[in-house]
Symmetry: D3
Subunit: 136 residues, 6 copies
């Protein structure tokens, strides 16, 4: 009897899309205005989903207070009000597309979540664009 | 050619999180302010999802009017403007966490939905916390 | 050059609608299922709006961090995960309708906001019902 | 390492539910006010979901600008501000239920999306009714 | 001490924008695809706002159950699942723009609301276009 | 008979809060993490509201297609995917708080809107913080 519990969070960050192996011209062609060297930014809306058995004593799959605190420590404090390209080590050499940000978040949270629990990440970059990643 | 049809509904209810086998002190430690003996409450937002083949004559997987009425009779009339702990029989001995409420809703609806249809429940307890359950 | 700055917050609470001067029967007739003596509850969504001149040095009408903290201290800590009728002094003798809750919130915040600033309160009781009050 | 990228779009259209093999009376019984011969309409909210490997050079599963343009050309220009029954060839003989519209959208987009990518369609007909279809 | 109470509702309808005094060509130029003679449609989201004194015995400005029923009888039953141009008398000779629909709704509700109460209408035609009218 | 018509739009931008007349230390104290010299960013959600008489021939206060295009040309093309501090002339010496951005938008649109029409700007910086400005 497995239930998925989901917790929403958010962070505001600057970024640009950029492949350092390419010329500026090619970056501009492929990434368009997202390649702007002065950066732009987003309100990222994050949902962290954890699936597992309900614990019979608590009725919880995972205590949402613990999950909330984990997201704050591992993600919000690292990403919020930051420039992803300049200040977040994972994106020094990795292009901070929504896809790659979701994978980085999953990789950061996975070791902190019990092994008997499945983890999935949903990340809205804008109200019209979002991505999901579950480690598979 | 299977399609999932989804219907949203809601109910407003009071509850507290509480394990009757524990001391009040332990309840307070584990459940925090959610254990408040005077209760608190939520606007629960429910999505009922039913997956199956499209009927060739109607173009429906399931008539949404029937599904809407079923949710009203089986869930809204039982839970809306109620105290879940005090007035809903299923929670006399079961802690009304979002996880357990979703399982109870699934169990109440499952016998009323055709056997050839899959059933899944999504329940928002707040705008930031929600759970999903599909009977597996 | 006056701008209105708005900050959203929320609290989850139990309540019932009840006039102690009336019989239970009259309460049931007027307030319907909202009069349930076992209580029900809501996720209240609050917007606090403050209107005034932009300060030329900061570009702020009011520092949103200060407003956020004020709402937490004065409103969220008093109302969140509480039973409004039983645990919030203002509602010992005042019926906790959305209208009255908005007036109580306005009265609690008004002395904490600069006199040169206008204050308005918007309170959603459900996604379909909300009220606004600006002290006039 | 597969990620799902999702793009939202919308179109406004008129339709009625109607089975040409039935009498008007039977249409009225089964489809109720949705069978109104004068039509009614909706703001359809569409999410197109594409799942696949992240391309190592771009960090994209699929360029969202390309996906956005594809939805505009294939779906929005065909359906927006149209009468689905009268003006969209697919619904000349197919009842434009949300289920069938989702299948038609999937069939129109599937040949335009890379074979190594999975495709799923979510379509909101109203804020409370929505369907999903992934081709299985 | 005046409070505004607001109630949300919705209706789904077909319409077209059309001035019968103009040629079809001029209608097409001015109203674009909104002039499509086969109609298109919307999920109209309505907020009815009523401002007045809080009644000291009930704590209500106006009983929201009464307001909800009034909106159902006067607006939803007249407009929902209808073709506004063909089936709603007010639009036989009046172009059903969002502006005009809001004025018609205000005119229909005004005589049913107490004279000591102010009335305002907000109508979303799409998620990005909406209008407000308060009778002035 | 005046109606307000409202059009929503959005732009994604980077910014930092900073007063060039202050030391970095004072900027850090007053603006906190918003003063980060590497910038952060937001999805700004904009509503432009225009109030005036309904034109009897069109049923419009203002053609929403014209308003949409005006917002695109004057605001979105100037602000979207930009660094407000570095690339938008108005903020070379003006701190890009939400308050100041709303005033700048109002000032840019005011000359383009008919003199018989009132103009108001609402700007969401995050889902919880927003401002309104109407030129008074």
């Amino acid at each position: 009897m497995k239930v998925t519990v989901n917790r929403k969070a958010h962070f505001n960050a600057a970024h640009r899309l950029y492949n350092a192996d390419w010329t500026d011209a090619r970056n501009a062609i492929v990434f368009g205005k997202c390649a702007n060297p002065h950066y732009h930014g987003h309100n990222y809306e994050l949902t962290v989903s954890v699936k597992g058995e309900i614990h019979p004593e608590t009725g919880f799959v995972m205590d949402m207070k613990i999950l909330k605190n984990l997201i704050e420590t591992e993600i919000e404090e690292q990403f919020d009000h930051k420039n992803l390209n300049e200040e977040v080590p994972e994106f020094k050499t990795l292009n901070p597309t929504a896809e790659n940000i979701a994978v980085v978040i999953w990789n950061k949270l996975r070791p902190k979540i019990g092994k008997n629990l499945d983890l999935s990440i949903t990340l809205f970059e804008t109200q019209r664009n979002f991505v999901t990643y579950d480690g598979e």
